[in-house]
C-alpha cells in the first residue's frame, strides 16, 4: 500500500515560518557551519554512543537484527548528523528531512524512540561543542543553541510526516470500511432483513438507508427487520440516524421492526430519552421475523398441526 508515500507537504513558506517561530536565524545557520569541521571530528564517537544505547534497550535493539543492517543504519545516521552542520537549511534540507518521519512510520519505530535519540545526540555532542569553543564560551553557548534549534525543527518535521503517514493509512482504512456493505437479505416474500454492523457515521447511515430503501422497492417488501445486534454502542447521533432510516422506510409503505436490541442498548436508549414508542422492537432477529410474519397474516405451523 503506497498511500503513505505521499508525504506531508510542508511548504517553503511554512518551513520559513517554523524557523522564525523557533528563532532560527541566518546567524544560527552560520554558527552551525562553523561547527561543521568540529562535527566531522566527533560524529563517529557520537554515532557509536547512540547505537550503544539503542542496542542496550530491547525495544530499539529489535530494529537492528544483524550486523549488515546495523552498519548500513550507522552510515545513514552519520550522514544525517553531518547534514545538521553543513550550513544550508533551505528547500533541499527540508525535503531530505521530511522523509525521515515517513521512514520511521513505515518501519514501525515510534516517535518516543527517535525523539529520545535526538536528545542523546545533544547530550553526546554537548561536551565536544563546549570544548571546541572554550576560547569563547559565549559563542560556544550560541553554537549549542543553534544546534538545539535545528534539532527542534528536525523533530517537528519528523513528527509531522509520521502523523501524516499514519493518517493516510487511517483514511485508506476508512474508505475500505465504507465499501464493506452488509447485504439486505430477503427472509421471506415481503420480509427483508438489514443487519447494521459497527458504528454509524453520517456517510454510512446514508449508504445504509439508500441500500435498504432500494431493496425494499426491488423486493416489494412490506416488512423490514433492521437488526442492530452488531452495533456496539448507542448514542444520540446513532439513534437519530436510525430513526431517520426508519421514517424513510415508512414513507415507502413498509413497516420496520428493530431487532437485536441488547440489554445495554435498551438501557442507553432509555437513559438518552430516545422515543422509540412508535417503533416495533424485538430482542432477536427470530422474534422479529415472527412479528413480521404475523403482520403479514402469516403463521408457521408444525406438520403435526401445532404452531
Amino acid at each position: 500500500m503506497d498511500t503513505y508515500v505521499q508525504s506531508a507537504t510542508v511548504t517553503m513558506t511554512e518551513w520559513e515560518q517554523r524557523k522564525r517561530f523557533v528563532g532560527f536565524t541566518d546567524e544560527d545557520a552560520q554558527l552551525l557551519k562553523e561547527l561543521g569541521p568540529v562535527a566531522d571530528m566527533y560524529v563517529d564517537e557520537v554515532v557509536e554512543g547512540l547505537y550503544r544505547q539503542f542496542l542496550s534497550f530491547d525495544k530499539t535493539r529489535a530494529f537492528f537484527p544483524d550486523e549488515a543492517t546495523l552498519r548500513r543504519v550507522k552510515k545513514l545516521q552519520k550522514a544525517y548528523f553531518l547534514q545538521l552542520t553543513q550550513g544550508d537549511y533551505g528547500e533541499a534540507y527540508l525535503v531530505h528531512r521530511l522523509h525521515i518521519g515517513q521512514v520511521h512510520q513505515q518501519i514501525g519505530l515510534e516517535p518516543r524512540w527517535y525523539m529520545g535519540a535526538y536528545s542523546l545526540y545533544m547530550q553526546l555532542a554537548f561536551p565536544h561543542v563546549i570544548a571546541a569553543f572554550s576560547h569563547d564560551a559565549a559563542k560556544g553557548q550560541r553554537v549549542f543553541l543553534a544546534l538545539l534549534k535545528i534539532i527542534t525543527l528536525d523533530k517537528e518535521l519528523a513528527i509531522t510526516t509520521y502523523i501524516a503517514a499514519s493518517e493516510a493509512i487511517i483514511s485508506a482504512q476508512s474508505r475500505e470500511i465504507l465499501e464493506i456493505a452488509t447485504p439486505v437479505v430477503q427472509l421471506w416474500s415481503g420480509v427483508v432483513a438489514a443487519p447494521l454492523i459497527g458504528t454509524l457515521d453520517s456517510k454510512r447511515a446514508q449508504q445504509f438507508t439508500e441500500r435498504l430503501l432500494e431493496r425494499i422497492v426491488e423486493m416489494r417488501a412490506s416488512v423490514a427487520l433492521v437488526d442492530i445486534t452488531g452495533v456496539p454502542m448507542m448514542d444520540t447521533r446513532t439513534a437519530q440516524y436510525l430513526l431517520e432510516a426508519i421514517s424513510a422506510v415508512r414513507l415507502l409503505g413498509a413497516q420496520v421492526i428493530l431487532t437485536g436490541v441488547r440489554p445495554v442498548i435498551a438501557q442507553t436508549l432509555v437513559h438518552l430519552g430516545i422515543d422509540l414508542s412508535s417503533v416495533a422492537t424485538r430482542p432477536s432477529l427470530e422474534a422479529g421475523l415472527r412479528l413480521g410474519l404475523d403482520m403479514l397474516d402469516l403463521q408457521v405451523i408444525h406438520r403435526d398441526g401445532k404452531r
Binding site: E210, I216, V217, R220, A248, L251, L252, G253, A254, Q255
Partner: protein, 124 residues
C-alpha cells in the same frame, strides 16, 4: 394550465390521483382543491396519491399532502401516498418533513390493497 398534468380517476370507490414529475407550487395547490371537490362529488372512501414520478418533495408539497389527508379524513375518507422514490424518502426524513396522518404504500397496487382491507391495520 396548472392542474392539467394531475390525472384523477375514480376506480370503484377510490380516487386515484397521479402527480406529475416536477409539480410547481400552483400545481400542488390545485391538487388539494381538486381532490376535495371530487371527494365531495363522488363520495370516495379513499384517495391514492401516486407520487412515483415525483423527484423532489419540498416542504410546501409535504405540508399540502398532510393537510389534504386531514381534510379527506374529515370528509370520511382515507389517504394513501404511493410510490415514493427512495431518494425522495431520504430527503423528506432528513428535512424532518411529515406527511401528517397519510398512510404510505410501496405502489398503487399495495395502496389499493390497503384501502380494500376489511380490518384497520394501524401504523406501528
Amino acid at each position: 394550465m396548472a392542474d392539467d398534468n394531475i390525472t384523477m380517476i375514480k376506480v370503484r370507490d377510490v380516487l386515484m390521483v397521479t402527480m406529475p414529475a416536477d409539480p410547481d407550487d400552483a400545481t400542488v395547490s390545485a391538487l388539494q382543491e381538486k381532490v376535495l371537490v371530487t371527494m365531495q362529488q363522488s363520495e370516495a372512501a379513499g384517495v391514492i396519491l401516486d407520487i412515483s414520478a415525483v423527484e423532489t418533495l419540498d416542504s410546501f408539497f409535504a405540508r399540502t399532502i398532510a393537510e389534504t389527508a386531514q381534510m379527506v379524513a374529515l370528509m370520511g375518507g382515507r389517504t394513501v401516498i404511493a410510490g415514493m422514490r427512495p431518494s425522495v424518502a431520504i430527503t423528506t426524513t432528513q428535512l424532518g418533513l411529515t406527511l401528517g396522518g397519510a398512510m404510505t404504500a410501496l405502489d398503487v397496487d399495495r395502496a389499493l390493497d390497503m384501502l380494500n382491507h376489511t380490518h384497520q391495520r394501524g401504523q406501528v
